[in-house]
């Protein structure tokens, strides 16, 4: 991931290295990508070795799924009925959370434009370690009806690791609830460790992401 790989055709001037004059006339050099961001790569966080503790914590993680409120495609129209009286996902411990820092589940709702993919990666990387991804709709599996589009991705798990796929166009809220229950089973069995997989295969994911995002003007890992 050297800097030559980045084709900065649309480079944002905000991220350029420059000389800034302070309020008292002092001049100093600013390199935003180095000064404002941490360039450390993600670490693998091993689960606890004592099975009783890990099972209990996994139960808590499964019963308290905080979903990031970020609708990426047309599938996000299925989220409001999921949380409102008809389907009421609060019964299953599913709650919406407005900031990636506090959420555990990322629902990729439908097709992903390349522009959105960049924001998805930033948000995904800001979430904290046990984190799960639910991919909604056919578009995340093979591109769906946008399979030959110039502007969307076809397979989501080239770019971020996916725990659960929910097929359909569009899957109804019942399907989403079934997906949540399946995800809970996976977490309780200790099989939902995709955040660690992302850290282990970080180079591979990053290469894939950089291949498709041409205007890469952010740090390699968004802390």
């Amino acid at each position: 991931m050297s800097e030559e790989n980045n084709i900065n055709k649309f480079e944002n001037p905000y991220y350029k290295k420059r000389i800034v004059e302070g309020p008292d006339g002092e001049k100093f050099e600013v390199d935003p990508l180095k000064d404002y961001f941490c360039d450390e790569h993600p670490k693998v966080h091993k689960p606890s070795k004592i099975p009783v503790i890990e099972n209990f914590l996994n139960w808590a993680r499964a019963e308290s799924l905080w979903v990031l409120g970020f609708g990426t495609g047309c599938g996000s129209i299925e989220i409001p009925p999921l949380m409102t009286p008809r389907f009421d996902a609060f019964r299953f411990g599913v709650q919406a959370r407005p900031t990636p820092r506090q959420s555990n589940v990322f629902i990729i709702s439908g097709y992903l434009a390349i522009k959105t993919l960049k924001r998805v990666i930033r948000s995904y990387e800001q979430m904290q370690n046990p984190k799960y991804v639910i991919a909604l709709g056919s578009c995340t599996i093979n591109g769906g009806m946008y399979f030959d589009s110039y502007n969307t991705i076809n397979r989501l798990d080239y770019y971020i690791p996916v725990d659960i796929y929910i097929a359909g166009c569009m899957p109804r809220p019942e399907a989403l609830l079934a997906g949540f229950n399946k995800l809970k089973e996976l977490i309780k069995e200790g099989k939902a460790e995709k955040a660690n997989e992302y850290a282990e295969k970080f180079e591979w994911y990053k290469a894939n992401q950089k291949k498709i995002i041409k205007d890469w003007n952010m740090p390699d890992y968004n802390w």
Binding site: A60, D88, F90, G93, P98, T99, Q102, Q128, N129
Partner: protein, 303 residues
């Protein structure tokens, strides 16, 4: 000076009871909000699961020293409020914690202490929504403090004491001795300011869940958020207990404590479920109109 281990044990036990009662109250509150919206709502044990989940998250990132200290200050504000306030006034005096003559002044200070620590910590988080939330929170809380402090001064003049335990003792001997009846103007001013202190709608612009994501704690996650949630549970009960002690005759057993704090806390929840949200300038000017005038009248009556 001899160290009183029995006192310490009762205080820690009291903190445990208050924490669990606070978590249960937040579950009941969300249940009520769900039923108003015709939903079934969360399971009653959801706050405990959320708390365990947040403490169990494996990775944390920090933005600096004040970012660490923000939740610590907030938590010490909530626990400090608990430590220096009598919970129950009983013959044995086990549940009075570390209250002393003049604790009323310290309590008023501790209410603001957590806010200021949180402001410094969230400010270092560097998220613009945190900064907006903090500026709104501090300006609203400054406006809330004015009628609340006036009501408390009125009480101090009425009972000629600054000790919460003495104020509670002066109200014993029947419901007509409560401050609610002997000083109704101060009670109304304080109960109106309580609406803002507990920060439910219409005064929840500080956290504004679907506007500025959740205000000051936007950047706080995992253990930091767990500490903040623990503090919120303690703080809500202790705020209600403060009003119970000052205006509603205190409590002599845990059953009475639970009934009274429930009713005081849910006064703000029920108002919140039916009223929409004020803008910040409206909420500040609202507190500086009716509650402020009532607070001044309450002082003039007892001058």
């Amino acid at each position: 000076m001899e160290f009183d281990f029995k006192k310490l044990g009762f205080t820690l036990l009291g903190l445990l009871i208050v924490l669990n009662w606070g978590l249960l109250m937040s579950a009941i509150m969300r249940k009520i909000n769900a039923r108003v919206a015709k939903r079934y709502g969360i399971p009653w044990y959801q706050p405990w699961v959320d708390l365990v989940k947040n403490y169990a998250i494996r990775s944390q990132i920090t933005h600096g020293i004040m970012f660490y200290l923000g939740p610590v200050f907030r938590f010490s504000g909530g626990v400090g409020l608990f430590l220096f306030m009598p919970m129950l006034i009983t013959a044995g005096g086990q549940w009075t914690n570390y209250s002393f003559q003049g604790d009323l002044v310290l309590i008023l200070y501790f209410q603001f202490f957590g806010m200021l620590g949180m402001a410094l910590g969230a400010g270092e988080g560097g998220h613009p929504y945190s900064a907006i939330g903090i500026s709104r929170g501090l300006s609203q809380f400054t406006a809330i403090e004015v009628p609340m402090t006036l009501a408390v001064i009125s009480l101090a003049i009425q009972y000629q004491t600054l000790s919460i335990a003495d104020i509670v003792k002066a109200q014993q001997g029947g419901i007509m001795n409560w401050t609610m009846w002997t000083n109704p103007v101060a009670t109304i001013a304080a109960m109106l300011s309580l609406l803002g202190a507990l920060a439910h709608a219409p005064f929840n612009l500080v956290r504004a869940p679907n506007e500025i994501p959740i205000g000051p704690p936007t950047e706080y996650h995992s253990t930091f958020l767990g500490v903040l949630q623990t503090n919120a549970a303690v703080l809500h009960v202790v705020e209600a207990a403060l009003f119970m002690n000052l205006f509603f005759g205190g409590a002599s057993n845990w059953f009475e404590f639970i009934v009274k704090t429930f009713l005081i806390y849910f006064w703000s929840v029920f108002v919140g479920t039916v009223f929409p949200r004020y803008r910040i300038e409206h909420s500040v000017s609202w507190f500086l109109k009716v509650p402020l005038v009532l607070g001044i009248i309450a002082i003039i009556i007892f001058m």
